[in-house]
């Protein structure tokens, strides 16, 4: 099964775990709804759309309400440390969580107790914590954008907010940032760098680039990175190798965006609706 861990921007949303379903514009866990406008619900909705195409079971969600105070994230971390060792997930995707290195390390230690090691994907706040912990290489995939890649490439920055200027200035030079991130061992085994051009990379450097279809208006739209990570997680759970899944997910996410005829004010829910068509198209051609 695919597990997704993240937060809901609602302080009253309790810790909820279980199968995630999608109905209308909401995901549901333990019968509790959350709109799929952005963040972890957008990732989950995208994963569900892709899993539907693949004919696979729905993901398992670990969710808690958190608006940035870290309380919901801490409840989640605590729950994961207790319950993950008994789990049998094939893929675990970590998403919007308050970056906290101590808790990150405890969660990773708990994962180490799982009988068969799952594939590990980190995005958003948990990726920040994974980098800062010095244990980035334990992960199969990170999905940074250019700004976050600059943060991975800066061996001294504990958060993208502190990325040094001379490295940020390089954010158009993605291959150099990738090289630097691996040189300082601050990257996962594979990177999918999302942007105007998507890059799939590993310690040896660039593996592939994806640049079509190209829609400039996708950059400002919140949640397009979340949908990419959702599709990717589903494809890896579906048995695709990480590199191959990254390539296909990047293509599918671009096509879904293109099908939505986006402008900078398009909301990500409009793109999620196009994912089944996009994934089908990409899989037929692969």
């Amino acid at each position: 099964m695919l597990a997704v861990v993240g937060t809901i921007p609602d302080p009253d949303f309790p810790l909820a775990t279980g199968e995630v379903t999608l109905k209308g514009g909401h995901i549901y866990v333990e019968g509790r709804p959350a709109p799929v406008n952005r963040g972890t619900p957008a990732l989950m909705a995208a994963a569900i759309k892709c899993l539907d195409v693949l004919g696979l079971p729905m993901p398992y969600g670990y969710l808690a309400g958190d608006i940035g105070l870290g309380d919901g994230s801490r409840r989640l971390y605590e729950h994961l440390v207790e319950h993950l060792p008994q789990s049998d997930f094939q893929v675990i995707t970590f998403h919007y969580l308050q970056p906290d290195v101590d808790w990150h390390n405890k969660v990773l230690f708990a994962i180490g107790k799982i009988r068969k090691r799952p594939k590990l994907i980190a995005d958003a706040g948990f990726m920040y914590a994974a980098k800062m912990s010095g244990l980035a290489e334990e992960y199969d995939l990170f999905t940074p954008d250019a700004g976050e890649l600059a943060f991975l490439a800066d061996e001294e920055a504990p958060h993208p907010f502190y990325t040094r200027g001379f490295i940020l200035h390089e954010d158009q030079n993605i291959p150099e940032l990738i090289r630097r991130a691996y040189a300082h061992r601050n990257a996962a085994r594979r990177l999918l760098v999302k942007g105007r051009i998507d890059y799939v990379a590993g310690p040896q450097g660039m593996i592939a680039t994806i640049d079509t279809p190209s829609e400039e208006a996708l950059e400002p739209i919140g949640g397009t990175g979340d949908t990419l990570t959702g599709i990717l997680s589903a494809l890896i759970y579906g048995g695709f190798e990480v590199e191959r899944a990254a390539l296909l997910a990047a293509r599918a996410n671009r096509i879904a965006g293109w099908l939505a005829s986006p402008t900078p004010m398009t909301q990500v829910a409009e793109i999620i609706a196009r994912i089944p068509q996009a994934v089908t198209q990409v899989l037929e051609k692969s």
């Binding site: 919007y96 308050q98 943060f151 993208p160 502190y162 200035h169 004010m265």
Partner: protein, 183 residues
């Protein structure tokens, strides 16, 4: 006595220019933002920085201040109900927050990126149309509260955000305000 200290604070040189400085460590970033507002309004010459490695947890800011003014600073904070977790002398260089902006003009829309955060406005209507990027849990919350509102009516990230990503979004918000609202 307080008046004297305040006047002295306002006249003092910037915290990182050779004066012995300390840092105030708080429970979370929203407390740092409140403390920053309080101390700046009081005329203190303080700066928001990254914490030294030994006290980093992953998503933190600290306030650097002239150490000699510790008592007055703490008193001012206590008046607004803020109590730092620690006050630590600075012994090594502190991290500087990002101060670079990337601006992209889409014609009708303008996008500003600060660090890992992007904010986009419809220039014709002044509605905020999208928030993108970031990884801390207040970002989906900030997007929910800001998107679909006019720039002048939307809550500021510094008012309802709590993390470094929220702080970066505040910088993008201020840059958009500077470019789109008449001063």
């Amino acid at each position: 006595m307080l008046k004297f200290l305040k006047r002295k604070a306002a006249d003092s040189p910037p915290a990182s220019l050779g004066v012995e400085t300390g840092i105030l460590v708080f429970e979370n970033t929203s407390e740092v933002i409140r403390a920053e507002n309080t101390l700046k309004a009081g005329g203190w010459n303080i700066r928001v920085k990254g914490p030294p490695p030994e006290i980093r947890t992953g998503c933190d800011l600290v306030i650097e201040f002239p150490l000699i003014e510790e008592l007055a600073v703490l008193r001012a904070l206590e008046k607004v109900g803020l109590r730092p977790l620690q006050t630590v002398p600075v012994t090594s260089p502190l991290l500087q927050p990002v101060d670079l902006f990337h601006v992209k003009d889409f014609g009708r829309f303008l996008m500003v990126r600060a660090a890992n955060m992007k904010l986009t406005i419809d220039k014709q209507t002044s509605f905020l149309v999208n928030v993108s990027g970031g990884g801390c849990p207040d970002i989906p919350y900030l997007a929910q509260e800001m998107v679909g509102r006019k720039l002048e009516d939307a809550p500021q990230p510094r008012e309802i955000g709590h993390t470094l990503c929220g702080y970066a979004l505040q910088l993008a918000y201020e840059e958009i305000k500077r470019r789109c609202l008449p001063s």
